[in-house]
Each structure stands twice: as structure tokens, then as C-alpha cells.
């Protein structure tokens, strides 16, 4: 198998410049990273063998500058809409993980024509305020992110980068994990959508993904057994295969394809 390597890129948009990583060939797919920043997890690597994966860096993350006037998750989605125009001809498949799913949901609401289909994995943004606030204590997070800590990828970011990323999170108001407007507008997501949730994910409540399944008109919900919030690291094979099958077959992914599925 050919070794894939993500190459850095920078797009200059009206809102400012946005960094991204890119790998693979094929139809365009935007991969939206979680609050930990972009990592090439096994499912992401698998996507890059069938798609041209473009993974934008949220402005303010990984040493990139914040953009003037962009201070909400919906605002990040607006920036990415410009990126889809610039790099993907105006339409792309979108896969978002945690914070990335929050951004992806807004992208599908505010820029419906640019997204098809949409995968929302461990989707953040709908943790009700009635629940205890999310902990960002590293020890608690380690327990909550991984059902299989032995599969945790090595940290590649410097302490300074991590500190800057946490500061960027605060800038976008992400610590609250509750987006009341998104909660009200889920029904406006018109594209085919797959919601993926780990059975051991305590950071995203099951009620949030149920609500997505209930209110997004063309949504499917799949529970991944024995996976916590960092679902792509906890169950890389299952999640990678699920992404691939849904992206290849759309709604027909509900049908058992047998031993040798024809994908793409």
C-alpha cells in the first residue's frame, strides 16, 4: 500500500488565510478536526485512499492566527464554505469529529448546497446545560476520551500549541458545549447524514445523538460498541469501515453487501 502523507496548504480567502492539510486523490472530502486539533487517525488515512481529503485547521489552532470577526462555531463554518468553493469546486463530502461535527452541522445548515453527504462523529455542541459542565482536566479527559487508552496516539503537539488551542476554544465559546441555536435548527440539515456515537462516550450524551436522528430529516444513527469520545482512535477499524461504506453507498449502506462489497 502506498504511503500517504498529508501536505500542508494555505488558502487565502476574503475572511483571511486558512491553513489545511491535504492528501489523496478522488472526490473532495473535508475532514473537520476535533478540539484536540488535526491528527491522521487510521480512519482519516483510510479516507485519503479514496478521497482527496482536505483538513482545514480551525483558525487559532496549531499556531494559526484567529480571523477578524470569526468568533463562533457557525462563523468557522462560514469560513469553510469559502474553502469548499476555493478547493473543491463548491461541493464536498464532509466528515466532522466532535468539534468538527459541530462545525459540520452548521456548514450543512448555512451552506446546504456545499455539503453532501455529512458524517457527524461524536458530535459536540448539544450537551444540555442541565448536565454537569465538561471537564478539560487532562486526567479526566484521558479517561473520558478513550475506552482503550493503549490505542491513544502519541502526542505530536507542543505544550505551547496545546495551550494556544485551549485559548482558541475559549475564543469560540466552545467550553460550554451547548449551542442553543444549533439545537433549534437541526431540522434544517437537508443532506444525507450519518451520526456516529460511541457506546462509552460520556462527553456527548446519548440524548444529543437521538435528537439529531429525530430531527435531521435524512439522518442515520450508528452506535459503535466499546468506543468512547475519541472514537476514531478507540475503534479505528469499525469507524473507518463505517465511514467508507456510508460515503460509498449512501443510504444503501443499510444493506449487507456480503463478503466483497463493491465500493466506489
Amino acid at each position: 500500500m502506498t504511503e500517504l502523507s498529508f501536505q500542508p496548504g494555505r488558502a487565502n480567502l476574503p475572511a483571511g488565510s486558512v491553513d489545511y492539510a491535504c492528501a489523496g486523490e478522488g472526490p473532495p472530502l473535508f475532514y473537520l478536526h476535533p478540539a484536540a486539533g488535526f491528527r491522521v487517525t487510521p480512519p482519516v488515512e483510510r479516507l485519503a485512499r479514496r478521497f482527496r481529503v482536505i483538513a482545514p485547521v480551525v483558525p487559532g489552532f496549531d499556531g494559526t492566527p484567529l480571523l477578524n470577526g470569526i468568533a463562533t462555531v457557525a462563523g468557522i463554518a462560514d469560513v469553510y464554505a469559502g474553502l469548499i468553493d476555493a478547493l473543491a469546486g463548491g461541493r464536498a463530502a464532509v466528515v466532522g469529529q466532535s468539534l468538527g461535527a459541530w462545525v459540520g452541522a452548521w456548514l450543512a445548515i448555512r451552506h446546504a448546497a456545499k455539503v453532501e453527504p455529512l458524517i457527524l462523529a461524536s458530535p459536540a455542541g448539544l450537551r444540555p446545560p442541565s448536565m454537569p459542565p465538561l471537564s478539560f482536566d487532562p486526567a479526566v479527559m484521558a479517561r473520558q476520551l478513550y475506552s482503550h487508552p493503549e490505542r491513544r496516539p502519541p502526542e505530536t503537539k507542543t505544550p505551547e500549541q496545546l495551550a494556544a488551542n485551549r485559548k482558541a476554544l475559549a475564543h469560540y465559546g466552545i467550553g460550554t458545549a451547548w449551542d442553543a441555536e444549533l439545537d433549534r435548527r437541526l431540522g434544517e440539515i437537508g443532506c444525507l447524514t450519518l451520526v456516529v456515537h460511541g457506546t462509552k462516550d460520556v462527553r456527548v450524551p446519548a440524548e444529543a445523538v437521538r435528537k439529531m436522528r429525530r430531527e435531521i430529516p435524512h439522518a442515520h444513527l450508528v452506535y459503535v460498541h466499546d468506543a468512547a469520545h475519541a472514537i476514531e482512535s478507540d475503534q479505528p477499524e469499525r469507524v473507518g469501515a463505517l465511514y467508507e461504506d456510508f460515503l460509498a453507498r449512501g443510504e444503501a449502506f443499510v444493506v449487507n453487501a456480503g463478503r466483497a462489497p463493491e465500493v466506489l
Binding site: 437521538r210 436522528r213 429525530r214 442515520h220 444513527l221 450508528v222 460498541h225 463505517l242 449502506f253 444493506v255
Partner: protein
């Protein structure tokens, strides 16, 4: 104290011992089976009139010792013959069959019975894995995943898919769902340290279905309690079910003779070479990985050769006159503190009229004296206890 009746519905039309496993079914006589099923269903349903709280039906494959490869069919028949008693499925062998089928069929039974189902989720015994061609090494993995999937299927309000190691489903929304909210009470086997911890994790009633000795039973109960405390709750007597072969007669001599002969027939004829099949599985696989000295391979042989008096002393069986049975139940309860007993009323080829009379003796002369044992004051019998089912909405 609550009481369940268990009747394995054995095929008693053969007399040869040592037939190996599986026993050839060329010996099967259809008319004999028709007569047995008619009798057995009557005896099982009689449990309601005899004051039992539950009637149990269990699943076994490829053996004449139990003619219920699908106990849910028997459960359905019992629902039509009863009004009050709970339908205790004890139960489907979870790692061996489609978990969604279990969720669906138990839900059907719960609806058909108006919410009377107690849901046993069992792992099975080793030879069943040969029968259904399931790798024994996958037993615990399949068990855990299937139980979690069944609970999801019962409680999830939206259609969902499941991506697991052993099971993949992309569109699940069962109809009907169970009547009991969030789902029927669970019973799981507690025959080993691992299974005791597993049962506690799901807050299931733990069935110690065949006691080898009281020390073993105490250890398993202690493990369950320890796991419960680690999870932040206290296990009351209602979490523990002790299952025992039972023979009640007008005289001890009669009960002893019937128990002895029924036990011999059970081990020598009905079980055939199951022990051999068990040994092959246990020696070749990790079926009981992580457990120590539980269910030794020769345990069944010990149970067969020990005198009845010794087996009573060890807490393996209940046997004797009603007064003796009352004393034996009180002693067991003093030792184990359980709140539920599972009485196996037919062992091997015990005569059916003896079984039927024994149940009447239990109703008239035993149950009135032991009902209060282990019964928390505020609990109402036979009801689902949603607050005990922590996993229901997870």
C-alpha cells in the same frame, strides 16, 4: 422469598446409559414426545396454582435432557395457560443467537403476558457452542456486546445502527418493545467469578443455578456484592437466586428414592456424553479464562455419586418431607441471605405425578412458612424494578 419453578422438559423415552454426545435421535418417538409435551406443559402451568412466583423455561441444544431449544415457544404456551405468575425465561443463550431476535421475542412475550416476563440472558454451557458452531473463545466478547445491544434495542427511542466486533446492524427499531419500563428485570448466571461480576455490572438478578457447595455460593455472592459496591450501590437479597433440584414427598424415603433414581437417570442417560464434549471445549479454548476452581469438570459426577444426605448438607438439593424442606430452605437462607429460590422440580425421569404432588405439598406446607425470608418490607412481588436497571437508558 420468591420461588421459581424450573422444569427442563426432558425426553424420558430412552433407557440406555453412556450413549455419547450428541445422542442419536433415531431413538426419538414422536407420539411419546407429544404425550410428554402435553404433560409437561400442564405441570409447568400448575406452578401458578401452587403459589410459585415464576415459571422458568431454559434453552439447551442437541440433547434429550431438555426439549426446549427455543424456550420462548414454551413461554408463549405458558402465557396462555396462566394469569398471574411471571414468565421466567432463563433463558436465551445470548452469545449463540441473534441478539435482536432475543430482544424481539422477549418483548413479544412481555406484551403477550401483560408485562410478566423475567428476562434471563445466559451464556450457555460449553457443549452448546459446539452445537451452534460458535467459537467458545468469543463467548465473553459476544455475551457483553449482545447484552448491551439487547438493552439498546429495548430502550432506544430512535432507530439506530450497531457497529460491533461480533454484531453489525444498520437499522434497528424493534416492534413491539417490552411493556415493562425500561425493560423486563434481568437474570444472569452466576456460576463463576467472571459471571458474578458481569451480573453485578448489569444489576441483574444473579442465578446460582446449581450449587456445588455453600462455600462456592457464598464466594459468588460476595463477588457480586463487591462489584456492586465498587459501582456505587448495595445489592439486596432480591438480587440473588439460588437454584436447587428439589424432591418433596410424603416421606423422606420416597423423596430420597425418587431423587436418587432421577439423578442417576439424568447423569447416566440424559446427559449422555455431554461431559466429554464439555471437557473438549474447556481444554481447547478460553471459555472459562480468568476463573479458578469453579465448575470443575468432575462436579457433575460428584453430584451423582454423593448420598442424598450429603448433598442436602452441602446445599446442593432440597429433598424430603415438607417439614424437612422448610428447614433446608431456612438453613440455606441463613447461610446465603438470598431472596429468590429456583426449584428444579423434575430431575431426570422423576414420575410426573410425584412432581405434581410435590408442588402441591410446597404450596400447602412449605411456602407459607418461608415466604417472609429475605423479603424487604417495601418491595412488591413480581414487579419490574426500573430503578434497579442502571443500563436501561445508557
Amino acid at each position: 422469598m420468591k420461588f421459581s419453578q424450573i422444569h427442563h422438559m426432558p425426553y424420558t423415552g430412552i433407557d440406555e446409559a453412556g450413549l455419547g454426545w450428541p445422542i442419536s435421535n433415531r431413538r426419538f418417538d414422536g407420539q411419546k414426545a407429544v404425550d410428554l409435551f402435553r404433560t409437561y406443559l400442564e405441570v409447568k402451568a400448575q406452578a401458578e396454582d401452587c403459589g410459585f412466583d415464576e415459571i422458568g423455561s431454559n434453552e439447551h441444544h442437541m440433547s434429550p435432557f431438555g426439549m426446549m431449544p427455543n424456550p420462548n415457544l414454551i413461554g408463549a404456551a405458558l402465557i396462555e395457560r396462566t394469569r398471574r405468575v411471571r414468565i421466567f425465561q432463563c433463558g436465551n443463550l445470548v452469545p449463540l443467537i441473534n441478539p435482536l431476535r432475543i430482544a424481539e421475542e422477549y418483548a413479544m412475550l412481555d406484551v403477550m403476558s401483560g408485562g410478566r416476563v423475567t428476562a434471563g440472558l445466559m451464556r450457555g454451557i460449553p457443549h452448546e457452542y459446539v452445537a451452534y458452531n460458535i467459537p467458545p473463545d468469543e463467548s465473553w466478547g459476544r455475551m457483553r456486546e449482545a447484552v448491551e445491544l439487547i438493552l439498546k434495542a429495548w430502550t432506544e427511542p430512535e432507530p439506530f445502527g450497531w457497529e460491533g466486533e461480533h454484531f453489525k446492524f444498520r437499522a434497528v427499531a424493534i416492534w413491539p418493545k417490552p411493556v415493562q419500563i425500561p425493560h423486563p428485570p434481568l437474570v444472569m448466571s452466576g456460576g463463576s467469578q467472571s459471571s458474578a461480576r458481569f451480573a453485578a455490572e448489569f444489576r441483574a438478578i444473579m442465578g446460582i443455578l446449581r450449587v456445588t457447595d455453600l462455600g462456592q455460593a457464598r464466594e459468588l455472592i460476595a463477588i457480586y456484592r463487591e462489584q456492586a459496591r465498587a459501582d456505587g450501590w448495595e445489592a439486596g437479597p432480591d438480587r440473588f437466586m439460588v437454584g436447587l433440584p428439589t424432591a418433596v414427598g410424603e416421606t423422606f424415603a420416597e423423596a430420597k428414592r425418587v431423587m436418587t433414581e432421577g439423578t442417576r437417570y439424568f447423569f447416566d442417560v440424559l446427559q449422555g456424553g455431554i461431559n466429554r464434549a464439555q471437557q473438549i471445549v474447556l481444554r481447547q479454548t478460553k471459555f472459562n479464562a480468568g476463573d479458578r476452581n469453579i465448575r470443575p469438570l468432575d462436579r457433575d459426577q460428584q453430584m451423582k455419586v454423593l448420598p442424598v444426605e450429603e448433598r442436602i448438607e452441602r446445599g446442593q438439593i432440597l429433598c424430603g418431607t415438607p417439614d424437612m424442606i422448610v428447614d433446608q430452605i431456612r438453613r440455606l437462607h441463613a447461610e446465603l441471605g438470598h431472596g429468590h429460590m429456583n426449584l428444579i422440580v423434575k430431575i431426570g425421569n422423576m414420575p410426573d405425578d410425584f412432581v405434581s404432588r410435590g408442588m402441591t405439598l410446597l404450596r400447602d406446607h412449605v411456602f407459607p412458612h418461608v415466604r417472609g425470608l429475605g423479603e424487604p418490607a417495601a418491595k412488591s412481588p413480581g414487579q419490574a424494578r426500573p430503578q434497579d436497571q442502571a443500563h436501561a437508558s445508557s
